[in-house]
Structures are given as C-alpha cells and as structure tokens.
C-alpha cells in the first residue's frame, strides 16, 4: 500500500486530468480548439499510477491521447491548454497542438501523432540512460492498437537484448479508433506477447490505480536496478469517443455505461473512503482545486496571443544555415 502522500498525489493527479479533459471537450465543442482532441477520460488511473513511481528526471514517451501522461509527469496545464488552443504561450508555441505536446523540462519527450511512433524513441532514451549510467528509466505508453505495429517488435526485442531500463505500458482500452481489440489483436492479453521477448509481462486492472501503481513500481524498480524491460498492460476503457465528435457507431451505449460504473476515480474514492485515507470533504476540496486550476489554465491560454504568422518559419533547425530559418 502506498503511503498517504502518494495516495493523495495519485488522487489529485487523476482529478486534475479529469478536470482538464472535461474542459478540453467543452472548449472543443465550443469551437475554440482547432484540429483533433483525443480524450483520456476513464483512463486516468494508468498515467497517474505509473508516473507516481517516476522521478522528474525519468522519461516518458506519450501518444496521440497524451494529456493525461503530460499532467501525470508534471507538465503545466496552463501551457498545455495554451498549446491546444494554438497560442504562443503553449509548450510548442502553437506548432504542435494536442497531438504534439512535449515538456522536456519534466522528461516528457512528446506525444506522437504516429501510432506506434514512440516505442523506439523510448528505447533510445533508455539506451542513453544506460550509456550515461544516469539511473533514469524510460516509460513508453502505447495503445492496444499500437501493439500491432512492427515498431513494437523491434523496440521490445532491442530493449530486451540490451537489457534497457524501459517499461512498456500498454493502455488496453479495448479499441483502436473504431476497431475492437477482439478483432485486431491476436491475443487477449497484450502482456502475453512478452514471452516472445523473454521479458516479464503483467496484466493489471487499469481502472484500479493501486493495482497499476504496484505493478508499475515493481517494473520501474527492476528497470532502474538493471533488470531490463517489462511489458505492463493496463486493461481500461475510453469513456469518450476516439476523438471529440466521434459518432461512435462501433459500440453500444450499454457497454459504455458498464464501464462508466467502473470509473477509476469513483473506485479510488470508494477505496480511500473505506480505508479512511481521505474524508469526503478532503476529496471534494481536491476536486475543486483541480477544477479551479484548470479554469485558470483556460484564462491563461485564452489571454495568450496567437503566434505571429511569421513564426511559422522559425524553429526548423537548432543551427539554421543560409536561407533556412526565420532570421530571428
């Protein structure tokens, strides 16, 4: 059982992610967010439970559904919100958007618009940590759909043969866009694939933050001590559509309602209440503070100006050469 501070931290993280995502949905529907937004609602326990065992200097590599990973790793919701609104105060000065948020200052090496594009980047971060003998660990979040990319095979095999400090965290939310995992994934549990790489594979209830926490703590600890990679699978569900505005013709309401009843935040609250870890009023206070923080993030983002259109030509290279770059 994690200590009290960790429990509070994980609950706070989950509440902050939920508040961020609900606001992002509202803003998208109000036409304030360009592009696509993929929400993490219902999956908060995974990022929160995993990142609770990471240090600031550890690395994570994220996905198109990355807001939760960012918040759990310590990124600022203000700069995230500014980014998804396309503003200059955003993490990427408006050049990335929801699918490309990164915060290198907290080891968040980037969301990725390419499904399965992050596996090998995480392997490289782990290789670098090993070569520098830094003791850092790299965590790669990915979906059930991404587990079908060839990149998965090359990455996990290489991490295994080089015994890299890397943890592969599969967020098995049952669908890849409109395609159910039962149709497209060759195994019921993605963690079973670990056998093919000679590494431990563990499946946990991804809506139980304590189960995620325990399994991740073990995997991260093993990686840090030189014990090599782990394939950790968290079974969860995305309550919202694949993206905001998804007509969701591929699943029925009853299924969503069944999973809604297993909401990871409600379940954690039941547990905290039962164990007497947090009182109702304390939990309400945490949720209210999270909502308030996100409201402030929205004001910050809305007040931030759009980038100067000519900024589109900046940041192509670290060292621009003749004719390249924006001359600033």
């Amino acid at each position: 059982m994690p200590d009290h501070d960790t429990l509070v931290h994980m609950y706070t993280t989950m509440a902050r992610i939920r508040a961020f995502e609900e606001k992002a949905e509202e803003l998208f529907l109000a036409g304030k967010i360009p592009g696509f937004v993929h929400l993490y609602v219902g999956e908060e326990a995974v990022a929160s439970g995993v990142c609770a065992s990471l240090d600031r200097s550890d690395y994570i590599v994220s996905t198109h559904r990355g807001h939760g990973h960012c918040i759990a790793k310590g990124a600022s919701p203000r700069r995230m919100m500014a980014e998804i609104l396309g503003k200059s105060a955003g993490y990427c000065k408006g050049k990335g958007g929801s699918m490309h948020i990164a915060d290198f200052s907290v080891g968040m090496l980037g969301a990725n618009g390419v499904v399965g594009g992050g596996f090998n980047i995480a392997v490289g971060a782990a290789l670098s940590a090993k070569m520098r003998r830094s003791g850092q660990v790299a965590v790669c979040f990915f979906g059930d759909g991404a587990s079908n990319r060839g990149t998965f095979h090359e990455a996990v095999n290489m991490a295994s043969v080089f015994e890299l400090p890397c943890v592969f965290v599969c967020e098995h939310n049952q669908y890849a866009s409109t395609t159910p995992a039962t149709y497209s994934v060759s195994v019921k549990d993605v963690a079973d694939r670990a056998v093919g790489y000679g590494i431990p594979g563990v499946t946990v209830d991804g809506n139980d933050v304590l189960a995620v926490y325990e399994a991740a703590r073990e995997a991260i600890g093993r990686a840090r001590q030189g014990g090599g990679p782990t394939l950790l699978e968290a079974k969860t569900y995305r309550i919202k559509g694949h993206f905001v505005g998804d007509p969701e013709r591929y699943r029925d309401r009853a299924e969503i309602e069944r999973w809604r009843a297993r909401c990871p935040i409600l379940r954690f609250e039941d547990r905290l209440r039962a164990d007497g870890a947090l009182a109702e009023a304390e939990m309400e206070e945490i949720r209210a503070a999270a909502r308030q923080e996100i409201l402030e993030a929205v004001s910050f983002a809305e007040e931030s100006p759009y980038p100067d259109p000519d900024d589109a030509l900046c940041d192509l290279f670290v060292s621009p050469l003749q004719g390249e770059g924006c001359g600033r």
Partner: protein
Amino acid sequence: MREITFSQATLEAMAEEMRRDPTVFVLGEDIARQGGIFGQFKGLPQEFGYERVLDTPISETAIVGSAVGAALTGMRPVADMHFADFVTCAMDEIVNQAAKIHYMFGGQARLPLVVRAPDGVVKSAGAQHSQSLEAWFVHVPGLKVVAPSTPYDAKGLLKAAIRDDDPVLYFEHKALFAMKGPVPEVEHVVPIGKADVKRRGRDVTVVTYSIMVHRALEAAEELAGDGIDVEVVDLRTLAPMDVETVLESVRKTKKVVVAHEACRRGGAGAEIAAIIAEEAFDYLDAPVERVGTLDVPIPFSPPLEARVVPRKKEVVEAVRRVV
C-alpha cells in the same frame, strides 16, 4: 599531403569525434564485430568499446528510432543503415519523427543525429542495393543532407554532421569507399551548406555531387581536348543548398548541366534546374540539361546496369548539347 581512402577518412572522422565527445556513439548492423560491411568501422570498438560501437539486431526502425530517443536525451548517435536502400525501413523515424521534433515541439529539443547511408551503384548489387535516394530527404523540411565526393570532404563533412545539432543524412557512395585522395593529418571540418568548385572553367557549368563529381571531372578532361572549358561545382550539401555558388558559376558560363546518379525523375537535379530557372533565367544561353539514371530500378546484369547508369559519356553528351 598524405593520401588515404574515403573509407579511412570516414573512420578517422568517427574516431576523432568519439575521442573529442564521449556522447558520440555509433549503432548499426555488423559494425562492431565485423567492422562494417565495407570495413568502414574497423578498429573503432577496440578503442571505444562495444557499447559505443553497438551491434544491433536487424531492426532499422529501432536503429534510427532509438537514435532519435538517444539524441533527445543527451547523446550524439550515428546510425548506420548498412545500405542506403534500407533507409526505407526507417522512414517514419526520419521523416515523421527526426525531421519534425525540433520544430513541432517549438524548439525545445535538440536532435544531433547522423544517419549514414552507403548508396549508389556498385558491382551488380541489383535493384535493392544500388539506389541513390537523397532527393526524398531533400524534400523534407527539417533535415540536412550531405553527399561528399572525396576523402577530404568525406572526413570533413562527417565531422561537421556529428557536431551539428540537427538531423543530418550522410550519403556515401559505395564505389567511393576505396578511392584515395589527399587528407591532411591535422583535423579539418567541412562546413555543411557549402559547395566546392572542383574545377574552374569558362564555358559550361556541371552542377553535381557524390560519385558524379568524378565522372564530370573525367568528362571535363575529355572536353578540354575539344576546347570546351568545363566548370565542375560539387554541391557537397544538398540541403540546405549553396545556391549562391551555383548561380555565380551559371552567371559566368551561361550554360548548365546538372548531373547525379540518382534517377532523373524527381531527382535533386530537378530542384537545382528549377532554382537556376527562377534565379538566373536571363543569363542562360541554353536550356538546363539533366543527367541521371534512367527511370527504372537498377537492373542486375552488367550490360543492363551499364545501360541505365550515367557515366562520363552521358555527361560529355549533355555538355555538347548545351554548348
């Protein structure tokens, strides 16, 4: 000045940079225990160890992808592609990840990555081991692309590429590996983005790079016998291109041939011809001529291969058409 091979020149560049900076390392297939399939890594693991000269599984995606991750976290990886043709297996990592990370993340990240790609036609290697694919990368904003032609440039450009904080594609023609040329004992760096006039001439400019530089120089020798004075501009870097050096030559000679071993259609030569048309049209006395491999996969049988790949003869003919 002493003479060493192109391959030795790259090896010296690697060793000097690895000595200079402990974050430089190289990864790829058959590079450490074997020394590289062209011997271009021989001796490196003895000096730097098997961790910094890292033999990998046959996993091009993981080689380049993990190099990206390592570059983002404080290392300076050099990823070897074995044959340039296999870069196709790592296109997402180069095009969607490496090329875009600095820009897409608003300048937060540095990506000091070199991808070494032995390319070009040599000894009937066939359709999947003979290509020159540099134009694809010239087309992608966020990448730097170099293609040296001499041992001197090979060493200097590889050192520059390793020191550069942006992703660099380093194309090295397989038929050049054994070529000897003068390289100073003291270290030198050739800046990325600077062309080099390999031969001065008044009558025609041949804009070229990599192995075609040598074919252009041979052509120039032959044409000199007929009183045609050819200038050979070796681009050395294709992205970003040293447009000024090209235009300066064109304004002088007023006639241009663009030559590369990559196939003609959509090749880097098309870009060069377009720039010349935009920037120096009024100076031209003849349409720009392009020389490149015919637009078929490289065939295996020697007479077939010889039929499609441009050599001295094709350059000579093209020059004769513009004078």
